[in-house]
């Protein structure tokens, strides 16, 4: 009977090994990650044929995320230009990530939600914060809730503190941090993983201040992210180095994999990437070593087996909360009721002190302390 009932569900629902000893363990261990659904927002911000690699970057992350279980309805894919059916593409309807045309990341089953001129800073921020016009279709919305883990991937051309959209506008790191804070205030995510593959990418996550954010970037401030390899038949660079090695790493991950974030931080060290990838985990509650890759890249569902019969026709009463679940909820309530962080007063730092000391020194040196009473 189990096999027939499972037939209803998608094949990548994975019953974790712990379920079979469920009768004896507490729910705290079971709900350790706290999320119930996964979303992904994948954005490519560059236009024009020579930025083929940015579209290939985004599509390779899209492919991995779909392969690990997140359905199209939970992915918002934004591509600023069309490379696959571009007239310059010698093999139409394909986007390759490896030279010699080994891997077509475009595939046969792709749904792009925002394309062409629709990929703007305004639309991106509206998708994140949920402030979309009422007639926007569901596939273009990020309908996450407070138990969603969201993966956000950005790629394109960037600089110190900004990311360029379509060669005509920019998004700054402060705007991004404020958008994430809005998402936190509106309880639109449980945990958020932010990956950016641009030049000086680490500057984009410097200003984050909302909790439960983890960020990865392909290069530090002052460094450029480099592209990987050109394909002579297509005539452009196919991928960026960081995302190329990220794709290779993700190809090894399967829905049952126990790989965690520490492995992801090790992707593409400086010897391979030339730039130094960076990461930021101080705003994240859990230890990165206990966070699975599939918590963000996959859509692993938890199935709870119970031996009790549940009467569905009885009057509505709150479900029995286990102690651990109660703790989790209490923690969420505490965090949410905190006042917004006020800017604490810090004593002036060394530079200001030194400047004023210098000014006063020069002044007293010129006139001498004893002359002061004659002057004033």
């Amino acid at each position: 009977m189990y096999s027939l009932s499972l037939h209803f569900f998608y094949p990548w629902i994975y019953l974790k090994k712990r379920i079979f000893t469920f009768c004896t363990i507490e729910t705290g261990q079971f709900f350790s990650s706290g999320h119930t659904n996964n979303w992904a927002v994948l954005v490519c911000t560059s236009r024009f044929w020579f930025n083929y690699r940015h579209v290939a970057n985004t599509l390779s992350v899209y492919r991995s995320v779909k392969r690990l279980g997140i359905p199209d309805s939970h992915i918002v894919l934004m591509l600023a230009d069309d490379m696959a059916c571009n007239y310059r593409n010698p093999k139409p309807a394909t986007v390759f990530s490896h030279k010699n045309m080994e891997l077509n990341v475009y595939g046969d089953d792709v749904e792009v939600d925002y394309r062409g001129y629709e990929v703007t800073v305004e639309n991106f921020l509206r998708v994140l914060t949920g402030r979309l016009p009422p007639s926007t279709p569901r596939s273009k919305r990020l309908l996450s809730d407070d138990r969603s883990n969201i993966l956000i991937y950005l790629t394109g051309h960037g600089g110190n503190g900004f990311l360029k959209f379509q060669d005509s506008e920019e998004i700054s790191n402060m705007e991004l941090a404020d958008a994430f804070e809005q998402m936190w205030q509106k309880r639109r995510y449980n945990e958020l993983l932010f990956i950016i593959d641009t030049c000086q990418g680490a500057s984009m996550y410097e200003r984050f201040y909302s909790p439960n954010l983890m960020a990865l970037a392909s290069s530090q401030v002052g460094e450029d992210s480099l592209s990987h390899q050109p394909d002579l038949a297509i005539g452009v660079h196919l991928m960026d180095k960081y995302t190329f090695y990220l794709l290779e790493f993700l190809e090894e991950v399967h829905p049952a994999s126990q790989a965690n974030m520490n492995d992801l931080f090790k992707v593409c060290p400086q010897s391979q990437c030339v730039s130094t990838p960076g990461h930021r985990t101080d705003l994240f509650q859990r230890n990165p070593g206990s966070v699975l890759i599939t918590d963000f890249f996959g859509s692993v569902r938890k199935v709870e087996i119970t031996k009790d019969t549940i009467n569905l026709t009885s009057s509505v009463k709150p479900p029995i909360q286990s102690i651990a679940e109660h703790h989790v909820l209490q923690f969420v309530a505490d965090v949410s009721s905190q006042n917004p962080k006020q800017k604490d007063w810090h004593p002036p730092d060394g530079f200001i002190l030194g400047l004023w000391t210098l000014i006063l020194l020069v002044f007293f040196q010129t006139y001498g302390i004893k002359h002061l009473k004659h002057i004033f």
Binding site: T36, R47, A93, R301, V303
Partner: protein
């Protein structure tokens, strides 16, 4: 009793609504049986499938073209005997073959007729003849709303947004600046007694690209998806590597018999593609299904009542496997012979259970298309220009009228007093003109004219325009590419050399029954011209800061040096006291105390 309860929220699935009725019965019946309960299979007893009121047909027409290319046209038709627009009764909720997403769109927005097409490439009429289903490059959407709708513009706006989500296209760029209400073209193709053109909306997006992301949701609307039947041939890598690719959805209400006693809703999904293996130098004039689509057919769609492949053999190509079934049809004013392969019969697939068609083509003659049009921009510079539309009537002795519809965006300001229509270098006055001038940033120009074309002639329509300067926020991110002007539409009833049949039969092949034939002596044709690409005066968006800096530096250094050279004189001056002393003096002056030296 063990249950499995899913803790998480469910996926939204596109396929669950149209799962097979038979498998649903199986699942519902087997569960209680396996659970160990004896006897009561209550679900099975009360569940009797209702008589099917919908049917699905699919067909593929393959036609070798005069230029050596090959034209393949897929048509999938779902007929459903229901009424989406009835008031006061229960809304339609059980969908079987008809896709639920489109059904909900029809009932929510009270749509009488909907036609949407996505095209990549331009149909070359002179080399390829007339297509079965014409379509302009880019995206085109025209909709007739039901006469009970009170706010047509609001419904139109929401409809374009919903369709952009369904088809993964940026149809949300359709707004009042590119929507028109044609008064005479685009009459309803199905049943429609609504001739009030206030309920018609037409818009086109010439810049819209078509790629796999548009094909994927289009394929998911088919009852069998891309898993069985003719749709297995639709592999995007082959379909988009072609000269012309067009996919469309047409929904309209039609009569089911001659007397029109019962009506049904018809959904047609069409996909036209022209493969250019021969003209691009990749091969000889021989094709097979495998070479064109990289797949062969293995079975017909089980939900289809008819599944056929027609191959045009009028020019006597070599065809294998041969088939005794032949059919003749008069389509587009020409009598052509087709070989018919019926995929619902198992012997079509032979022993290998796969059907691959091989065609070797020799013929060279083609019926010259009787109506043909071109369009281009003349003039020089970025201030003014002239739009020329040239319409050719290739009929040797018959003259016929055509309806020309032009929709020009507001930033090309037309001077209608310069409109001239000349045929055979003589003035040709149109018998009907409908012109709606543009309003800046509100609506485009709409020009509709009924022109009588003399036999065997070329008619030229010219109008001058001036290019507007847009505000700097209105430019696209790549303004130097240019701005597109949508295709002109020429609709005509062309006199036919061969008598068309007006008989209404249900067994007509789909490609000949798309446009209803009202009279025997003419057939309806719609010709689209090329879209135009015009450059508007574009400011230089690149590096204004650098330019200002450079200019100011040059001016300051150059002018400043000259000024100093000419006017600077040197004189001895006492050193002024240092700042601290001056500040102390200032404070002393305020106190009234004598100043320092």
């Amino acid at each position: 009793m063990h249950f499995i309860r899913q803790v998480t929220t469910a996926h939204s699935s596109i396929i669950t609504e149209r799962s097979n009725v038979s498998s649903m019965i199986k699942q519902r019946c087997l569960l209680p049986l396996l659970s160990g309960r004896s006897g009561s299979c209550r679900l099975c007893e009360t569940f009797t499938p209702a008589p099917a009121k919908d049917q699905f047909q699919e067909e593929l027409v393959i036609r070798p073209l005069h230029s050596g290319d090959i034209y393949a046209s897929f048509q999938f038709r779902t007929l459903w005997d229901t009424d989406f627009l009835q008031e006061g009764q229960k809304k339609v909720s059980h969908y079987r073959l008809f896709p639920k997403s489109l059904g909900q769109v029809l009932s929510k927005f009270s749509v009488q007729e909907l036609h949407i097409s996505f095209t990549q490439g331009f149909w070359r009429t002179m080399q390829w003849g007339q297509p079965f289903i014409p379509s302009p490059p880019g995206a085109e959407l025209w909709v007739w709303f039901h006469h009970t709708v009170s706010d047509v513009d609001g419904n139109w706006k929401e409809l374009t947004n919903v369709l952009s989500g369904i088809f993964c296209a940026s149809l949300n760029f359709i707004d009042m600046t590119n929507t028109v209400q044609p008064s005479a073209s685009f009459k309803p193709l199905g049943l429609g007694n609504a001739t009030d053109h206030r309920f018609l909306r037409y818009a086109t997006l010439p810049r819209e690209i078509v790629c796999t992301e548009n094909l994927t949701p289009w394929k998911k609307l088919l009852p069998c998806g891309s898993k069985a039947g003719l749709a297995v041939l639709m592999k995007s890598e082959k379909l988009f590597h072609s000269s012309f690719h067009s996919q469309a959805v047409h929904i309209r209400p039609i009569c089911q018999d001659e007397q029109c006693t019962s009506k049904a809703w018809e959904l047609r999904q069409t996909l036209n593609v022209v493969f250019d293996h021969y003209t691009s130098g990749q091969g000889k004039k021989e094709w097979s299904l495998f070479k064109m689509f990289s797949r062969t057919l293995t079975e017909a769609c089980p939900l289809a009542s008819s599944s056929k492949v027609y191959v045009d053999i009028t020019d006597n190509p070599e065809l294998s496997p041969a088939t005794p079934l032949l059919s003749q049809a008069v389509v587009l004013g020409d009598r052509r012979t087709y070989s018919v392969y019926d995929l619902t019969r198992a012997e079509t697939f032979g022993q290998l259970r796969s059907f691959n068609l091989l065609l070797r083509w020799k013929g060279d003659n083609m019926l010259r298309p009787l109506l043909h049009a071109e369009r281009y921009v003349a003039g020089f510079g970025l201030q003014t220009g002239e739009i020329h539309t040239v319409i050719y009537n290739n009929h040797p002795y018959r003259a016929f009228p055509v309806l020309l519809m032009d929709s020009v965006p507001w930033y090309l300001q037309l001077y209608i007093h310069t409109l001239t229509v000349t045929s055979k270098s003589r003035d040709n006055k149109p018998s009907y003109i409908h012109y709606q001038p543009a309003k800046d940033r509100h609506r485009p120009h709409l020009l509709e004219m009924l022109i009588q074309l003399p036999p065997h002639s070329m008619t030229e329509v010219t109008v001058q325009f001036e290019r507007a300067l847009l505000k700097w926020t209105e430019y696209t991110p790549d303004p130097n590419h240019g701005f597109y002007v949508g295709s002109s539409v020429i609709s005509a009833l062309v006199p036919s050399m061969v008598a068309m049949s007006t008989n209404f039969t249900q067994d007509q092949p789909l490609f000949s029954s798309f446009v209803p034939v009202k009279e025997e002596s003419s057939y309806f044709v719609r010709v689209y011209t090329e879209p135009l690409l015009v450059n508007l005066p574009t400011p230089d968006f690149s590096m204004p800061y650098n330019v200002i800096c450079l200019t100011c530096t040059v001016v300051a250094v150059g002018y400043g040096s000259f000024y100093n050279l000419l006017t600077r004189t040197f004189q001895v001056d006492e050193p002024s006291p240092p700042l601290a002393k001056r500040l102390a003096n200032f404070i002393r002056r305020i106190r009234g105390v004598p100043l320092l030296a």
